[in-house]
């Protein structure tokens, strides 16, 4: 029998353990996104729920996956730091409501569209992009989610629809208003738009 090299064997096993745990460390962003999307679709399909119930549940589900503060902060860019804590909070709330109003309309128009996960990319074990496609009989819309990892959970910080970034879109319009007319005016404009 060939001689058994105990030290070499120990090193090999230790190496395998390290390698295995390193590979298993980062949870899959696709899995988490898939889970959230399935939950939302389940609510959309539940005909027993009233529109109001659907909206409440979907808002709760979205809050569990979208980091609206991170999104809002990114749209303000440098202006975020020069905004008071109180205005920051109000901005995040208004921003969230703005998005909710725009996208919750889809609840009423949902007709069994399918959502496919097309691709996943993870960078530096902390950033990810999950490319999805909303598919109906006559069209497919590419919707990509940009996520960051926090405590083993992936949070969305930007949504890219048909190649257009949501954060970038609001960045230009919001920062323009802030620079010319100040944060107060922007908040007032956002409030007015919602009422």
């Amino acid at each position: 029998m060939p001689p058994f090299h105990a030290p070499l064997f120990a090193i090999a096993v230790a190496f395998m353990f390290v390698w295995a745990t390193a590979a298993a460390e980062v949870p899959s962003p696709s899995d988490q996104v898939r889970e959230s999307m399935d939950d939302v679709v389940a609510v959309l399909k539940d005909s027993a729920l009233s529109l109001e119930d659907k909206e409440t549940r979907i808002r709760a589900l979205v809050d569990e996956r979208f980091d609206f503060q991170a999104m809002a902060q990114r749209t303000l860019g440098k202006e975020w730091k020069s905004t008071s804590a109180e205005e920051q909070q109000r901005f995040v709330e208004l921003f969230r409501e703005q998005l909710a109003r725009t996208y919750l309309v889809a609840i009423t128009t949902y007709t069994d569209e399918r959502i496919d996960i097309v691709k996943e990319k993870v960078k530096d074990n902390r950033l990810a992009q999950v490319n999805t496609s909303i598919v109906s009989t006559d069209l497919s819309i590419p919707v990509d989610y940009r996520l960051y990892l926090r405590d083993d959970k992936w949070w969305v910080y930007d949504v890219v629809i048909e190649g257009a970034s949501l954060v970038n879109n609001y960045r230009s319009s919001y920062q323009g208003v802030i620079k010319k007319q100040g944060m107060g005016t922007l908040l007032a404009q956002m409030e007015e738009k919602l009422n």
């Binding site: 902060q73 990114r74 303000l76 860019g77 975020w80 190649g163 970038n168 960045r171 230009s172």
Partner: protein, 152 residues
């Protein structure tokens, strides 16, 4: 040849040189290139598509030229376009800056347009802009309209 003629010829010669220098300066200015290269640092960005973007294209921030596209190549594993840019030293890019391939007009030249972010972390030389928007191709939009309808 008397002295007066030599002087005249020297003056004419100097005028010629001045004229040529002015012309050269004008040509370089019109081309948009710097006569004396300022210091630059390298930043990369990956795009789903950079259709229409070419080497030498401008990089703009707030509509101001801050750099140039040095190279564009295909990542053969991810099938993404990788763009290598030179950015002027002194123009700091936050980690959450967004790079987009935009046209200078409706059908003008493509450039890389940067919108600054607000993160504390600044990209180091050789760093990568993570968040990008691909080039929009007019033909793709038309094709989408043809095959997928004009929407509801």
């Amino acid at each position: 040849m008397n002295v007066k003629n030599i002087n005249l010829e020297i003056i004419v010669g100097l005028f010629m040189l001045a004229g040529l220098a002015a012309f050269g300066y004008l040509a370089v200015q019109l081309a948009g290139k710097e006569l004396v290269g300022g210091k630059h640092y390298t930043i990369t960005a990956r795009f789903q598509s950079t259709s229409g973007l070419i080497r030498g294209a401008g990089v703009e921030l707030a509509g101001v030229n801050v750099g140039t596209v040095d190279a564009i190549y295909l990542d053969k594993e991810e099938y993404e376009s990788v763009v290598v840019m030179s950015i002027e030293e002194g123009v700091a890019l936050q980690e959450d800056s967004i790079a987009s391939v935009r046209s200078t007009g409706l059908i003008g030249d493509k450039i890389v347009s940067l919108t600054p972010g607000g993160a504390d972390e600044i990209l180091a030389p050789g760093g990568e802009i993570i968040d990008t928007e691909p080039s929009v191709s007019l033909e793709e939009l038309i094709s989408k309209y043809i095959f997928e309808g004009g929407g509801d």
